[in-house]
Symmetry: C2
Subunit: 416 residues, 2 copies
Amino acid sequence: MSLREDIEILCKNAGAAAARLALADTEEKNRVLLRIAERLEAQSGAVIAANREDLEAADLNGVPKTMLDRLALSEQRIALMAQALRDLVGLDDPVGRKETWSRPSGLTISRVRVPLGVVAMIYEARPNVTVDSAALCLKTGNAVILRGGKEAIRTNRVLVDLMKDALEDCGFDPHGVELVESTERESAQILMTMRGFIDVLIPRGGKGLIQSVVENATVPVIETGAGNCHLYVDEAADLDMAVKIAVNAKCSRPSVCNAIETVVVHSGIAARFLPMLAEAMAQYEVELRGDAKTCVLIPTAKEATEEDYFTEYNDFILAVKVVGSISDAIAHINKYSTGHSEAIVTENPERAERFQRQVNSAAVYVNASTRFTDGGEFGFGAEIGISTQKLHVRGPMGLAALTTEKYLIRGEGSVR
Amino acid sequence: MSLREDIEILCKNAGAAAARLALADTEEKNRVLLRIAERLEAQSGAVIAANREDLEAADLNGVPKTMLDRLALSEQRIALMAQALRDLVGLDDPVGRKETWSRPSGLTISRVRVPLGVVAMIYEARPNVTVDSAALCLKTGNAVILRGGKEAIRTNRVLVDLMKDALEDCGFDPHGVELVESTERESAQILMTMRGFIDVLIPRGGKGLIQSVVENATVPVIETGAGNCHLYVDEAADLDMAVKIAVNAKCSRPSVCNAIETVVVHSGIAARFLPMLAEAMAQYEVELRGDAKTCVLIPTAKEATEEDYFTEYNDFILAVKVVGSISDAIAHINKYSTGHSEAIVTENPERAERFQRQVNSAAVYVNASTRFTDGGEFGFGAEIGISTQKLHVRGPMGLAALTTEKYLIRGEGSVR
């Protein structure tokens, strides 16, 4: 059997399981989540043993240490995964939310939230994503097809098996959670074209994965996680605040999508601000890359290329651009940004409002760090990713992002 | 200059106009709509003259008479277009709708509805779509790029010119409404790949257009209008009601997407119902195509192929399928439907509910005709199309479908 046929069978099985999951009430779905938590704790030994094999194989293959850290599971990390499942139980279930109205035609129309159906996820090393994502999909009555990275395949197999067992324990079809065993590039490509079987594909990964999905997918997609974020330091900024925010937004966790990659600086305060910025960033050994004006004011800065401004470094590197006006700042951001998160530091309320209105991104901050773009920080309780597209959902995606709506209409022999 | 370069310039100009339109308040946008209505009435002579040239060219090219009817504009049709513009003024503007909350971090977060940006439409002969679609986009603060059919190009040119003039009259950039002059297939293909320039593409047309968009588009798309709709006549149906609904759903306007293409009949009432159906359909000269059981009960019916059940006839042809249970009916519908609209006729409340829950379509009716799937009938006031996808918007699309959301966050030097 070909890989495509394998994956098609997987999709069909998931579709059949989805039909049943869509009918489950909140209590039934919560019971599955609790059961997964129990099994995860009871079988933590098997999970950790499989994870150790993954780690050994990855180490032999020369996988970098930062990636090994993300791949590694411990009793403590497993306890956190189980806690996340129990927290999810407490969240409101969007499925079944309903508005009803009547029309002069005599019809009664309800708009009700329903599951999407079959959700596919393509992601990389972190095995906690396997359980988190599946749990969010199950909570919203969806089946899920997981296609994780090669490095975590042994861990993922054990995690998916125990989730399948938990589904069966609760009287559901185990095909509600499926794992694509092949971690070759081809399996991801095939998933992207399973039109008619997959209701939404959520890629979580780097630029290459997102680009491949955009070019090849024929199934509906929610793009996530591309974060070329900016901080604009206005002429009217509190410069100490600007330094504090810049350091937080760049250095607290450079590898995540809501970290900044470029600081845009108004020329009126550049001579005062840039040396302050350089000094603060030097403490974190951040490499600065700037335009000509920046390089004059910060002698240690390297020259930035056009490509730098398009780059999501995910590292201790920061681009700097000096602009003559807030208009130029907004134009720079709207040109180079991926539409994720941007911030302005200013004490001027008109300019703050203008920045928020005209910057074309999912989250636009005034006097705060872009690092807050997160489902938990926004109060959504859970997050399946951060959307950088405008259709369906934008910014941090809570449970409702995994649902759609449906119209239920009743008449009494009504014709038009 | 190549066609691609031409279209890229058009897109850039529309993008610049969109930035200004996004900042317009409701009153300013309504003024543009009223001005278009005035200019439409004042210049109706020029519109009709251009339309006459289109009609003559189409007639020479052998365009069928039904299509000529859809292409033709008269003083009366123009008055209706102007009235639609004035009705649109009265509708609520979704842009600017806002929820605000505070977080323990000290942040104040607002979620606000904003325009999508640049909307592109690919559509066919009817020139009223040119004005309707542009008006809906302008009302929601979007710029629009129109790519109509060859048959209406002269009419569309005049309509777009007068809309551009109306924008200028009101102090807006005339590039807020753009027309793709080329009506070759290539121009549609290029539009589909204008990633970074077009925020959403809405194709309105037949299966071929939708298919081409699914395969080729790299810009975000809302699929519309594919309607392979079903009526299921349950064992517990009021058969007179079922006949009345079937006739309305098939014959009142067979060319539209919410007309039915197949009647699915429970075997328990087939022997009584099918002759009644055949008699009623004969009055409209509807050709019936059925499975083996149907052909026994309706001797005039032709044999249906698998392909028939996948076909949106848009014509006086109706497929019939006899099933042994409601489960089989639901399975048939979920297999062949395009997910638009389906109906059940039954007096049994459990089966009605089951049908509504398990049929996987945008609108699911009990004892009513599928012909009601329409923004006006649902009470939305206006409609840009009927979405058959699950992401972003499903079913009739009102003004809110042309908007997205954005998070505006304020802190006081907040870091995470």
